[in-house]
């Protein structure tokens, strides 16, 4: 149970949609194993549904990395200092709550519901342009990338003229190969754009958008505020964009399942939950890391104080979560999947992502019932050089 295997985190996938890193699922199938990360650090990998929920919600596992930050360049150089103010993912307990709770108001379910007509409008406008252009077009640049990017900028209260800068910066900041100097240069450029926006919100006193809310209704320092903005901009650009693309590709590969969505588009909410569960599960691989502060037993293994633990969302395919968990079944009722993580650090933007994915996916296939890939899905190029996984381009015709 405790043999060290080589962690295949950066290795090839046998199938771009349906397999995690080659050999990973087999390696973790008998419970937690210790693996060695490319930078030489040993970590337990937990991939069961119950185990992942336990690690992400038990306060005996800390997100503080003891001076060893998670994001690293290929040379092992730390990209983000663990003590960067506003790095909400690197703090626990009351300090984390101080930053997290005021932001919850900006992502409330009812606020996301109020935003739906605007999301629909953005989707409609982009699909109008796509239709006028005529196929083949790249779905990533036509819809997947601009949708979340425009929405998060509006939520934050950032003027649209900065869109291009934000898109380019988010892309570069999420790359695996950038140096620390490049990262700092991007962050500095964003700070220079954001600082006058914050100052203007302070003058107006408005709390209508996230920057206004943070500037006028919290005790956040300027440094914390700017870093939180950068984090939300980057997260808002990359993740939903990739998933909208991956969902579309899964549906291309499974016409029977696409038919389920077409038959009853009003079930887009449930359909998106199942696509999240399935897509995230099949991406597999080691993911979020924690560190034990005390000895803790997980899935029958004793994890000692100081040990590193990496959770795998392969857990979304655990039969404990639902029957036939490895299969996509869009007629399934929504289950408590781990697509947005679990515990106090669960994705802050989950409800926003849901609204975007539901409206985007539903409208795409309503507008273009014959939408299909212009090249085979397995021959498209995928973003293996990024921290977030997705298709680089999705050429489509209709």
């Amino acid at each position: 149970m405790t043999e060290a295997a080589v962690c295949p985190v950066h290795h090839e996938r046998d199938h771009p949609l349906l397999n995690g890193p080659t050999g990973f699922a087999e390696a973790v199938s008998d419970g937690p194993v210790k693996m060695v990360w490319p930078n030489g650090v040993e970590a337990w990998v937990v991939a069961s549904y119950a185990g992942v929920r336990q690690v992400l919600s038990d306060p005996r596992f800390t997100t503080r990395k003891g001076g060893q930050p998670e994001m690293r360049t290929d040379d092992g150089e730390p990209v983000l200092d663990a003590d960067q103010p506003g790095n909400i993912n690197a703090i626990d307990g009351p300090e984390h709550m101080r930053l997290r709770r005021p932001l919850a108001r900006g992502f409330m379910v009812k606020r996301m519901n109020q935003l739906r007509p605007r999301i629909q409008q953005i989707v409609d406008e982009h699909l109008d342009v796509m239709e006028a252009k005529g196929g083949p077009v790249d779905l990533v640049t036509s819809l997947c990338l601009p949708l979340p990017s425009l929405v998060i900028a509006e939520l934050l209260g950032v003027p649209p003229e900065h869109q291009e800068l934000f898109q380019a910066t988010a892309r570069d900041m999420f790359g695996k190969n950038g140096s620390k100097d490049e990262y700092i240069a991007h962050a500095t450029k964003l700070s220079e754009v954001l600082a006058p926006i914050v100052a203007q919100k302070r003058v107006s006193g408005s709390t209508d958008d996230l920057i206004g809310l943070m500037a006028n209704d919290t005790d956040f320092s300027m440094e914390e505020l700017i870093f939180l903005c950068i984090g939300m901009l980057a997260a808002g650009h990359e993740t939903t964009s990739n998933f909208l693309g991956l969902f579309t590709l899964h549906l291309f590969e499974r016409p029977d399942q696409l038919e389920v969505l077409r038959r009853d588009p009003s079930r887009a909410d449930v359909v998106v939950e199942e696509l999240l569960r399935y897509t995230v599960g099949h991406l597999g691989g080691p993911g979020l890391t924690r560190r034990a502060t005390e000895d803790v037993e997980v899935d029958g293994v004793l994890i000692k104080a100081g040990d590193w633990v990496s959770v795998s969302l392969l857990a979304n395919l655990d039969e404990e979560l639902c029957p036939r968990a490895g299969e996509l079944d869009l007629e399934r009722e929504a289950v408590s999947h781990l697509g947005f993580g679990f515990g106090p650090h669960q994705c802050l933007g989950a409800n926003l992502a849901r609204a975007e994915l539901q409206i985007g996916l539903r409208t795409l296939f309503e507008r273009f019932p014959n939408l299909r890939p212009a090249v085979p899905v397995t021959e498209m190029s995928y973003r293996t050089d990024m921290i977030t996984y997705g298709a680089a381009e999705i050429p489509v015709v209709w």
């Binding site: 992502f107 409330m108 408590s336 947005f340 679990f342 515990g343 989950a350 409800n351």
Partner: protein
């Protein structure tokens, strides 16, 4: 004995998962986004949604006593 639903607001992170699971029983406060219980003693037909909320809550602060 009727069922009782509670949210430990001191530990709530305002993720709103309870609202998604059982919109008739839970809401979020306009003041701070934290979860609030609209129906502390929900009738039997609402209990499946409440159990789902208990399961889904990422901060594990929703409880149901049956």
């Amino acid at each position: 004995m009727s069922a009782t639903v509670r949210i430990d607001q001191a530990k709530c992170i305002g993720s709103g998962q309870c609202v998604l699971a059982a919109p008739d029983v839970f809401d979020q406060s306009d003041d701070d986004g934290l979860g609030i219980v609209l129906v502390p003693h929900p009738p039997a037909e609402l209990l499946p949604g409440v159990r789902d909320a208990v399961d889904r809550c990422p901060a594990q602060v929703v409880t149901l006593e049956e």
